[in-house]
Amino acid sequence: MLLTGLAQLRLAASVGFGTPFALWSLDRLVDALLATRREFGAGAGGGAAETELLTGPALDEATRRDLQLRRFRQQATRGARETAYYGRRFAGLGLDPGRLTYADVARLPPTPKAALRDDPGAFVRRGAAAAVRTTTTGTTGRPTSVYFTARELEATAALSAIGLLVHGQLGPEDVVQVSTSARATLGNTCFARACARIGAVWALTGLVDPGLALAQLAEAHRVPGKKPRPSYLVAYPSYLGDLVELGLAAGLGPADFGLERIAAGGEIVTAGLKARARRLFGAGVAFDEGYAQTETWPLGGVRCAAGHLHFEPSWGLVEVLALPDAHPDAGAPADPGGPPAAAPGAPGVLVATPFVPYRDASVVLRYATEDAVRTLEGRLTCPLRHQPATSDVLGKLRLAVRHGPGPAGWTFPRQVLEALEAESLADAVPLPARCGFWAVPGGVAVEARVRPGYADRADARRAIGAQLEAQGVPLRALRLVEDPTRLRRPLPLRGDLREASFAPPVPPAPSAAADGAPRGVAAGAGA
């Protein structure tokens, strides 16, 4: 208890002043949280006092701005002195990174993805013991690399373990199945270490055939002290869609699984996907949603119950800048000082600066994530209202469509996916939604994959069109296909980054079919 108090003070010093983490204090806190859980039960934790372990206390607006400016200067000074990229940048701008004001920060042009992709070494601090190079999945282009130190990964894993324990998301009795790309080394490595620290069983199944992954989810294990079936699933939303589609088609239901939580990320999680997933895995399944990307790791957003994306201020500065007048692929000249902040309620692009001590080896300042969000209007009333927030991610800007002037002249992937994956369209549109959309005069044309027999049905077209318009899509043309290879401009899905396996899919048998007849699952059904 006393040593734990010391460890809390040491962590508070890092959170408050940006001093490097002491790994002993993080280790001690993980041990203390586990001991607290053992002694007082799994329900212990999750209170405000425990949450402040990770975030520090809630700050008023003036204090938050002051803290973030000081931390921005700290990171900018390191960047200017110790990295090739920002050394050149600050020399060219004539700005003193140690004396930046918010007006100066706004003058600092956002760092484009291309700069990091073309020369990741220019962002690495001189003297940093870079040990790991990780790459993005490259959904919208050539993968981008980022360097990290071994210590950064250790600290992030320990912080992840603390977060999972504090929020009661994972415990030593849990069995975790990770159905993400085996090449997603950063997320997988940190999560694996966090699970190991907590004592949960962790299994990376990768993006194998969904039938195989579903069979592994349903498979019972008899490991002393562990839950009999996987209780926690990590998956891309599109791959989760494959699993749900396959499971429901095979007549499987909640009794066939032991899932309690699903962490879905890396893509847009729609309300329809969650509703359909709960039909397969059970109404009580909780979703852990958030936002993170490799380039700004470990700065990330947490989705609150109201659907906002909240960013802890001590972890980094998050800005939402106005969208360009033209589509980013149109080659319009960039504003030399960068675009202004997006107006309240308007869509914009997320620009992020992760702070020390969370980010050490590679410095990125005002990194243009190319992810679109909407700024929020009015006062927030959600439990995380003291943290800066945006709307949930609307999708990659490169996949969005510019069809008219002003902020309202955009259609984002989220609008189309929310419409197509709606539970009311489950009979017509299978998961994951495979679709494309593009600008046409006066609006947007949408194409979507539908189930066999639905492409020519007028009622299906009407229902799909109504859903799209309800999501604010200015629909001018709708093309329905039954064969996904006939889509002209399909959105990329991470679930398609399939990994080969020698093992043939083993069909899980339903525990008890409604009509009493046994049913099986054929690998690939519904895909």
């Binding site: 208890m1 006393l2 040593l3 949280l33 607290t36 053992r38 039960g41 212990a44 209170g47 425990e50």
Partner: protein, 297 residues
Amino acid sequence: MAPLGLTPAYWVVLGHAAAAVLLGHAFFRRYRVPRPPVGVFDLGDVALLLGAVVLAPLLYLVLPRWAAAGLLGLGVLGALLAVLEPVLGAARAPWGARLAWPAALAVLAADVAAALRPGAPAAALAVNNAVLVLAVVGVANLWAQSGLKARDAALLAGALALYDVVATAWLPLTDALLGRLAGLPFAPLVAWPGDPGGGLGVGLGDLLLATVCPLALRKAFGRRAGLTAAALAVATIAALLALLDLGLVRGTIPAMVALGPLTVAQYLLWRYRGRERTTWEYLQAEPLAPALASGPR
């Protein structure tokens, strides 16, 4: 002379010792102290505590008397808050807990005033004894409700027994310390004057261990284990005080020499009979009254 040939000082001191043990137990079953949200009282804390037990007397001997009293007062303040917050919070919810600070400060002021008042040593002792009993109840419950295991309590008691032999029986450390702190506010001794130049007392540390070990045993092994330990602790203190009061032993008795092995023996016996319960298992088996269990976690 009082009954059984024992002096009034005997009955007063024994009464306070019994009150500490019994009130500690009653509090344990009725109130939740505001424990730290993360962490349990573990072996590392036991080690730190033993270090503090060794160093604190030396510190008190070298510090000016006012500084020693100040340090003791800070400790007593924390302990009083542990008692008063849940009690006042339950009695006058939801604002009652806010009265804990003024109430605790008032108690401290009373102790200081009584100690500084000339010519009334009995009154000063009476106030100090009451304050120490409350402080013991608070600290014992803070430790026990923070997850102190019976195993760790037994280890602590066993180690303190060894320390007491050295500090009290072999070295004049305990006597020197009590002599230096006597008459100060928050003097760590429940005492009562007897014949001129005489009197009886029980050290704060002994009283704390006599109170906390039954709580740890109750949590770990059940009602019978806890009540038996409480009864044995009071009986042991009664026997030791009787030895002094009847003049069978002169000087200072290292009480932990008796209380320590007794606690270790009880732990070994109960542990032989079954596994130690966690706080969660204890509360599942023996839930507190709902109205009182809703205090700060």
